[in-house]
Point group: C2
Chain length 251, copies 2
């Protein structure tokens, strides 16, 4: 994307190759220039096809693509219809997971990116979070202290890091951290399942979560960031996950 419009619209003067491109160009332009603001309802498929003189299947294809991007959502019920999204949704997580499978980012790269983002999020949280804002993460940490199964622990662990990343109040950092945590979740869960001394590691992770929360609550931002990095890297080392393949290392 050398210029800012190249990836969204066909180059000027070039004839679009089909109805799909016409619809994509129309809808993305309308979103970018705020003709269709966040939360607004799209015209019907029939209406769009008539307005743009394209087939309804071309409209349907473009809508599928925008849904997959998290740009528009379709809901049933009283608020039914296709609307412009108000949140980024989980589109990032889906993309990251596929790119991990494709090898265009490996486990080590995802981990390093997560560390950079989560350090920033917890440091920001330590500078501004109120005791009330910390409560959801505290509650998750409490529940994790009594859950011993690796499967259930893994779900709570993802939720804990999501709650922590949300405290920084930067929605993009939070969305990206969540996406990476979810992309690596199956790797971490599989490694936990085969670890012989899982119970020891579990207790250590529980203690570390409490330590991070205490540093955030005490507004010690550098310490909270350092503890978060040690926690993530230490867990991966203990789980013996290979940085390139994401597989559990064998003796």
């Amino acid at each position: 994307m050398a210029s800012d419009t190249a990836a969204l619209t066909p180059p000027r003067g070039e004839v679009p190759t089909g109805g799909f491109e016409v619809v994509m160009t129309h809808l993305t332009d309308a979103i970018l220039d705020r003709t269709f603001p966040s939360g607004s309802r799209l015209p019907t498929e029939r209406q769009l096809a008539a307005d743009l003189r394209v087939s309804r299947s071309a409209v349907r294809e473009a809508i599928k693509v925008l849904q997959a991007q998290g740009t528009i959502t379709t809901a049933a019920g009283p608020a039914h219809g296709t609307r412009i999204s108000t949140t980024a949704g989980h589109a990032f997580g889906r993309m990251l997971r596929l790119h991990l499978a494709l090898g265009s980012a490996d486990f080590g790269e995802l981990t390093d990116t997560r560390v950079v983002l989560e350090r920033a999020a917890v440091a920001a949280a330590a500078r501004m979070a109120t005791p009330e804002a910390l409560e959801p993460a505290r509650e998750l940490a409490r529940r994790m202290s009594s859950v011993t199964g690796s499967e259930e622990f893994s779900v709570l662990d993802t939720d804990f890091h999501v709650a922590l990343a949300s405290l920084g109040e930067n929605r993009l950092i939070s969305d990206l951290t969540v996406a990476i945590r979810q992309a690596v979740a199956p790797i971490i869960r599989d490694a936990q399942r085969v670890l012989p001394d899982w119970e020891l590691l579990r207790q250590r992770l529980v203690r570390e979560h409490v330590g991070i929360l205490d540093a955030v609550a005490a507004r010690r931002d550098d310490e909270a960031a350092d503890l978060t990095e040690q926690h993530i890297r230490g867990a991966h080392a203990a789980l013996r996950i290979d940085k390139e393949s994401g597989a559990v290392e064998q003796d």
Copy 2:
């Protein structure tokens, strides 16, 4: 995406709502379990439709979605056909630009995220980049010293930050930094266009780029990271871009 497969496949036991979902599930599963590894060619549209007993339009819709995600690419020529991607492509940039328009991330959040990622990238570059690896960024910095037009400067500026972010060798950090830089490019370019003392700022930006490169070359990682942050935040302040709206602030 509470579990790792929820967002990619319909819940077990639930009947997919149409051919599109059948194709998406089949293709994403095949990518995730490496049945279709990176670079491999997809079966033809006709073949997929027959294998999965769905319509060809359902196959076409799923392929459009995977293309928009950057998961598959379609090329003409000797290597023609639809293949599983080998790079993340520019799908992130497209998504970020739309989310910026939708208000699910504002200019300030994009900037803070970019600062966090680009600090990490230049610090990593300072720890490992060779003089040869630095050469493309050096060449861009040289060209920027003689280009006075804000339009051409803006293109080189994007390329410079892309070259810098690539030096860290973490492909995900680099892809995300590039995506954010490209998402904010039109905002920065428009602000440069209306700035009365653009020439003064231009000269300052040129000096700052050289300063960052010198710190990277001298392997001073903390200094390179600090200079990068000051450069980005200082430029936005000088350009008087409002953090929430992304508009140029008026007196």
